[in-house]
């Protein structure tokens, strides 16, 4: 089956399988507004998990507070909907207690880069094996459209009635700067690419972040005259450049563009692995001394 939405053509033949395998159908439909990008990104996560063949029982979804956070309740894994901004800190405890679990944090731009910014940079620095998927819609949606740390300068929100004076965060860049060993950017439009980026992020041993440009037609879109959901997805299609293309472009040319792809990956010992090594070393030393 193919759904035609203008020239945006998305193959959905696996959709129902993913829903019944990885979602909790009794809790659907989700509460997100019509046209919200979060559902697409949630599907990308499910598809990445399907592609990797992860066990639902040993996968944990941790979320914070906000529109993004509702994803945890819809997904049929070990799920925990925590407090605002603290998803990564809760996830750190879960991973530390049981490193064999695959721990995925689903969060939003306000959750991760405003109230939770401290946890993001330190988890990145620590290189603990979490996969963080950011549903980045440039606005606080749940509370009705206030500007967030990723709202562009000059854009409007209910708390930026004269245009946002702040500069916006590049979340993937922030995490990379803080030491994340895997940082990527996807978009709601780029389903295949984003799924692959999430998949590789889960496979990566260490802290990985996939900053996914979502769309919020209800608040961000209306406040900023961005048109319909389809218009907003088309914008993502028409204004995205790959990492390789971006490398050949000037700063001027890159203005207003969405750079999609793997931004950074490096191998560095994962925190819980390093801690297990430490425990092993102490036990061995004790045995030698006895």
């Amino acid at each position: 089956m193919t759904v035609d939405t203008g020239d945006v053509s998305v193959k959905t033949k696996n959709m129902s399988n993913l829903i019944y395998k990885y979602m909790r159908p009794e809790h659907l439909p989700q509460i997100w507004c019509p046209g919200c990008g979060n559902g697409i990104i949630m599907r990308d996560i499910a598809q990445a998990i399907e592609n990797l063949g992860l066990s639902r029982n040993s996968t944990v979804i941790v979320s914070g507070i906000g529109c993004s956070a509702r994803a945890a309740g819809y997904m049929d894994f070990n799920t925990i909907h925590t407090t605002h901004g603290r998803a990564i800190a809760f996830a750190t405890g879960i991973k530390l207690a049981n490193p064999s679990l695959e721990v995925i944090v689903v969060t939003g731009d306000g959750d991760i880069s405003a109230i939770g910014g401290n946890h993001l940079i330190h988890a990145a620095r620590r290189n603990i094996g979490l996969t963080v998927v950011v549903m980045n819609n440039n606005i606080y949606g749940m509370t009705g459209g206030q500007y967030s740390p990723t709202t562009p300068t000059g854009a409007f929100g209910t708390t930026a009635p004269y245009g946002n004076l702040d500069r916006s965060f590049d979340i993937a860049g922030l995490a990379y700067g803080a030491g994340a060993s895997y940082a990527a950017r996807g978009s709601a439009y780029h389903v295949q690419q984003t799924t692959t980026l999430i998949q590789e992020g889960i496979k990566h041993r260490g802290f990985s972040i996939i900053d996914v440009a979502s769309i919020c037609p209800t608040y961000y879109g209306r406040k900023n005259k961005k048109g319909s959901a389809v218009d907003m997805l088309k914008w993502q299609r028409d204004n995205s450049v790959t990492v390789d293309q971006a490398a050949k472009m000037s700063q001027e040319e890159l203005k207003g563009k969405l750079v999609i792809g793997l931004l950074h990956q490096v191998n560095y010992p994962e925190f819980t692995y390093a801690y297990d090594q430490l425990i092993r070393r102490l036990f061995e030393e004790r045995e030698e001394n006895e």
């Binding site: 800190a89 405890g93 879960i94 991973k95 679990l101 940079i121």
Partner: protein
């Protein structure tokens, strides 16, 4: 007889916690609780457990909750300013019913206050610090030995009732060094949470068995997939807007503690059989009270001590009974007047209540108490 050791209160806190089964500690440096983090960092990996220094107090609290959700007994420790920061997630743990122990080695406040000076200024924050109605269990040790024994009890209560337990130390006890006898490990009672033994796909995660108040817990990863949330939820673990369900949940959470008053509430009464005047004290103030009582008795004044070991829930039954048999209760605490409010609430006009508070960073001395005891009116 067990081995006799010289130990600091903060050290006893860690050693006792290890005996209770703590295998994860998440913390952040803060005076006067820092030794708890330092000693945990040394001791936990030796026992196969894990220590992590988080980026802040909020994260430490969240991390400890996460550890417990994954099935590992977890603890965090802090002092006043950090205890303020932990409050939101404390409410989360109470609502989502996550066992863990939170240690507060109290120092003088408010704000940064006097970081190295003793205080008992967080007693009401322990009860009311997080928003909304929630159950609280808080314990208060008054010696190094008691710190060791009581932290084990703190873990046991948190595991039995699936609720965070607050361990309200103070700078005096945290930094005190005393000789103490270690218990024989086989004699120590260690309680583990009731867990789901094998996955049952249809099981509701917050299902309450008939006649029970505490749901069995399934550690993440054991195969029982479910949802946990800080939203008001029903037995399914999913959010609900039902007012009936909300009331049912809050009632059950409160009853978990109030219906088990006899198991949870402990207090010590010394010389109360014939006492005319009772000193009400807890934690660090107990030490001055003991000396003052001895001196008072030498001077022919029948003095006794009433000391809550469990401070929340407040030992109101025992206190009211005690108040009926004395003429005066002197409430001695290192704050401007916190637990005295509870004493007044409970005792009412059963006897006279005097207050001796200290909120300048120094401690109440035996002489201060003796002077108060000798006050006629």
């Amino acid at each position: 007889m067990g081995k006799v050791v010289l130990m600091q209160g903060n050290e006893a806190c860690v050693e006792g916690a290890l005996v209770a089964g703590m295998r994860l500690f998440a913390g952040y440096p803060i005076t006067p609780s820092t030794e708890i983090a330092e000693i945990s960092a040394v001791r936990l990996p030796q026992e196969g457990g894990k220590f992590i220094q988080m980026e802040d107090e909020i994260a430490s609290m969240a991390c400890a909750i996460g550890g417990s959700v994954a099935g590992v007994k977890s603890m965090t420790a802090t002092s006043g300013p950090g205890f303020s920061l932990k409050q939101e997630n404390l409410g989360y743990a109470a609502l989502a019913e996550i066992p863990l122990v939170v240690v507060d080695v109290q120092r003088m406040g408010p704000s940064t206050g006097m970081p190295t000076s003793p205080s008992q200024g967080d007693m009401m924050m322990a009860r009311w610090g997080t928003h909304g109605d929630h159950p609280v269990i808080a314990l208060c040790p008054s010696s190094v030995k008691e710190t060791y024994d009581l932290i084990i009890r703190a873990f046991n209560l948190s595991e039995r009732y699936r609720t965070p337990v607050l361990f309200m130390m103070d700078e005096i006890i945290g930094h005190l060094r005393e000789g103490m006898e270690l218990p024989e490990l086989e004699e120590v009672e260690v309680i583990d949470r009731k867990t789901v033994k094998y996955p049952e796909p249809k099981r509701l995660p917050y299902h309450i068995k008939k006649g029970k108040l505490v749901p069995e817990m399934a550690p993440f990863g054991m195969g029982q997939r479910y949802n946990m949330t800080g939203l008001i939820h029903d037995e399914s673990g999913f959010p609900t807007n039902s007012n009936e369900e909300a009331e049912k949940l809050i009632d059950r959470l409160m009853h978990k503690v109030s219906d088990n008053y006899a198991d949870i509430v402990k207090c010590e009464q010394v010389g109360m059989d014939d006492a005319d005047v009772a000193i009400f004290c807890y934690g660090g103030t107990m030490r001055a009270a003991s000396s003052a009582m001895d001196e008072a008795r030498k001077a022919g004044i029948k003095c006794g001590i009433f000391r809550p070991i469990t401070i929340w829930p407040f030992p109101e039954k025992e206190l009211l009974e005690a108040a009926k048999h004395v003429k005066r209760i002197i409430v001695a605490e290192h704050n401007y007047g916190q637990m005295v409010l509870e004493v007044e609430r409970v005792v009412k006009d059963a006897c006279r209540i005097d207050f001796l508070g200290r909120y300048n960073g120094t401690v109440i001395t035996p002489d201060d108490l003796l002077a108060k005891i000798r006050e006629e009116k």
